[in-house]
Amino acid sequence: MSEKEKNQKPKNKDAGKIFLDEISKSPLTVTILAIVSGLILGGLLVAVTSEEVYQAFGVSFWSGVQASADAIWATYKALFYGSVGNPGKIISALKDGDPLAIRRAFNPFFDSLVVSTPYIFAGLAVALGFRVGLFNIGVEGQLFIGAATTVTAAIFLKGLPSIIHIPISLLAGFIGGGLWGFIPGWLKAATGGHEVINTIMMNYIAFRLSEFLLRGPLKNPEGFTPVSAPIEESAELFRFFDNPIRFHAGFFIALVVAYLVYLFLFKTTWGFTLRTVGANPRAAKYAGMNIMRSTVIAMFLSGGLAGLAGANEVLGVNHNLALAFSSGYGFDAIALALLGKNHPVGVVLSALLFGFLRNGAIQMQLSAGIPIDIISVLQALILAFIAAPAIIRTIYRLKEPDMDIDSVTLHGWGGN
């Protein structure tokens, strides 16, 4: 018995070692460690910028450490309560059975899903571009234009049943955003003008255009502020619960669209062509694939997905269009597409993470006094670790992967 154990032990160790090696090489490990590291650094930032912590360090070292821990704990507790819900409140609401209290208790969770929804669309937009070797920084602008075309369809088409009005409004957003992506795509294909610069420029043109529209043609004639009229009720996306829960059908539309993007990219010839162009344009060219057409199609689809993000916000949440209603979806979308390895499933998961973070941060700001902007810092840190996996590998002494399959291939300004 004892001999057997002795014989087995080294074997087990080997198995364990192999297992650790595999984990160590897995790209997923890097992703998870990137998120964890980001959260740790975010916690440190909270502690370093907290006055209570400095005062406590003035008293003694240990009380300082304790104050830091308290500050970090309070921050992440508020973040959790704000994004998922307060378990205590949920249990007591369920016990009491008061429907309004139950809805209020579950509201943070559903609201996180609501916040995640535009992230799914926007993340898919960026991911689709990356898959074709295109860097779509213009999601923000495409989202604006999509929202503007959607709101136009949703306000000025009257007397339609919802079953027709909603798809038309969504389609309007898809086409609006798509056209805004098509222009830089076409410019890239026809003239070689780099899409990064053109989409940045198109963002600012979109901002100016939406300012113009909301001060002029789209402005609510009955109001004084640059806000559009409310959309027709027939165009509003279905909400599953009564107030205050805003959870609406858009979330499921986003999941369906994510699945469609998956099917398109991985199960169709067109998708294969686009991915080949992205992975190796030279090989694609020799195989007779039309790179120009792929570029234009990809940018149109990418813009269209971004337009759907805008449409979703208009039809599902705001029910009108206001100035600068989106703040930074475009940049966040880049981060989450990379976090999700440009795969629709990964994008949905990352979008949920970002949505829960962003929604929880609102509560965090209210109850723990931590400015919501810390979320941007977290996103930047996570993105830095994802973009430069070598940092994470060095810090945590991970093994090099056999092959870096998921690295994004982009091309310099010159487009070669």
Partner: protein, 420 residues
């Protein structure tokens, strides 16, 4: 050798491009005629005031008949178009294009001011001031990209510079605030350099990381400290320095020589960077690394070190440009106060063909449209200012598309270098 090469490139303006530009000149001429001349009654007068507000110079207003002036401008543009089609301006084509564009703008102003008055000196002065952050941002881009590293993080570096200048300037004094801003830009640039040179991260992604980080950290710290303790957000501003003698020149003096440190610094940097890039060994090496790193490496130039130095210098420049917002303009930090100026600076760099004086010209042009947009309401012109403000972006896209001549970006721009 490089000057030779560019000279050759200029000589070889393709016949197609020559014809397209000729047609563009003629189109501009006819636009001047149709839009401005045909819509004006004869006998109206345009009045330009020649002294910017705040100056005590006394120069009589420039009053002239609107219609003849516009017709002359249309005629000269038409003649330029005809000559371009027939013979071509050769290497002066771009200069002529600029002049024709300028004539269009002048015709527009004459038309818009017909029967009214406009402070021309004030408009030019305002354009120059608005060009300052754009040019500093563009110079940051020039320094980075000439060595082959794309910097789309100018915006983030400027925002950080603005924040640090306000905070440190309030805690110590304005000069240390300026120094800290410059260093903070350099620090972010170091991160960009490490990510893109050492870790070979895609440079655009690395730049995006810095932009998101800068937006987050400045807003976070501002909400946490500056809004609570107002005394931390009161760095003061650099005073206006009137340059003796020069500031007394009529018209030009108040426009160019009555500013604070930042405006003069732009002029100094323009000359310093131009000389450094084109007339020193360092500049030749930097440009070589940006154009063909492998060849440069073969000749014994340390590609990595050259890129680190250039990117960090670019970061210093962006930090300095950021300090302009707090120490040179507003006197306090507001969240997201750079409002995309870093990206317009990037556009100005492209518009200016990756070249310091070109960037400055582009910055002036963009600044001019910015200044003009704020005057549109006064001029009672039926163009919404929002449409006017789209101009810099549209112009950049047109330039990038190569309609009026392709820019000459550094050949290895954006490509990480791998030593073999």
């Amino acid at each position: 050798m490089t000057t030779n090469a560019t000279a050759v490139k200029h000589e070889l303006i393709s016949p197609t491009r020559r014809r397209i530009l000729g047609i563009i000149f003629i189109v501009i001429a006819s636009l001047i005629w149709i839009l401005f001349s045909r819509t004006l009654e004869s006998g109206v007068q345009t009045t330009f005031r020649m002294v910017p507000g705040g100056s005590d110079q006394e120069i009589p207003n420039w009053v002239f008949s609107s219609l003849p002036m516009i017709n002359v401008l249309a005629g000269v543009s038409l003649a330029a178009g005809g000559y371009q089609l027939a013979r071509g301006f050769k290497k002066r084509t771009n200069l002529v294009l600029g002049l024709v564009g300028g004539m269009f703008i002048f015709a527009f102003l004459t038309w818009a001011t017909a029967d009214g008055s406009l402070n021309l000196a004030g408009l030019i002065r305002s354009a120059l001031v608005k060009a300052v952050p754009l040019t500093l941002g563009a110079l940051s881009g020039v320094l980075c990209e000439r060595s082959g590293v794309v910097n789309i993080a100018i915006e983030g570096m400027m925002l950080t510079g603005a924040f640090v200048a306000a905070l440190v300037g309030s805690l110590t004094n304005i000069w240390i605030g300026l120094l800290a801003a410059v260093l903070s830009g350099g620090f972010l640039a170091l991160i960009l350099a490490i990510l893109s040179i050492k870790y070979k991260t895609d440079q655009i992604i690395a730049g995006t990381v810095i932009n998101i980080f800068a937006i987050g950290i400045t807003s976070f710290l501002s909400a946490r400290f500056l809004q609570k303790y107002q005394e931390l957000n009161n760095p003061g501003r650099f005073p206006t320095i009137e340059i003796p003698i020069l500031s007394d020149i009529p018209f030009i003096g108040p426009i160019f020589f009555q500013h604070n440190l930042f405006v003069y610094a732009v002029f100094i940097f323009l000359f310093v960077i131009t000389i450094a890039l084109y007339y020193t060994k360092w500049g030749l090496r930097t440009r070589a690394v940006g154009e063909h790193p492998k060849a440069a490496d073969t000749l014994g130039i340390n590609v990595f070190r050259t890129r680190y130095v250039s990117v960090i210098l670019g970061g210093f420049m962006a930090g300095f440009g950021g300090a302009y917002f707090t120490l040179g303009s507003v006197g306090r930090f507001d969240e997201l106060m750079t409002a995309g100026r870093g990206f317009i600076g990037l556009a100005a760099m492209i518009f200016g063909n990756w070249n310091p004086f070109g960037s400055f010209s582009a910055g002036l042009l963009f600044g001019f449209f910015d200044a003009l947009a704020s005057k549109m309401a006064i001029l009672k012109v039926p163009i919404p200012s929002e449409i006017m403000l789209m101009f810099p972006y549209l112009a950049t896209m047109i330039i990038l598309a190569g309609v009026v001549g392709r820019g000459q970006m550094p050949a290895a721009d954006g490509q990480p270098y791998e030593k073999e």
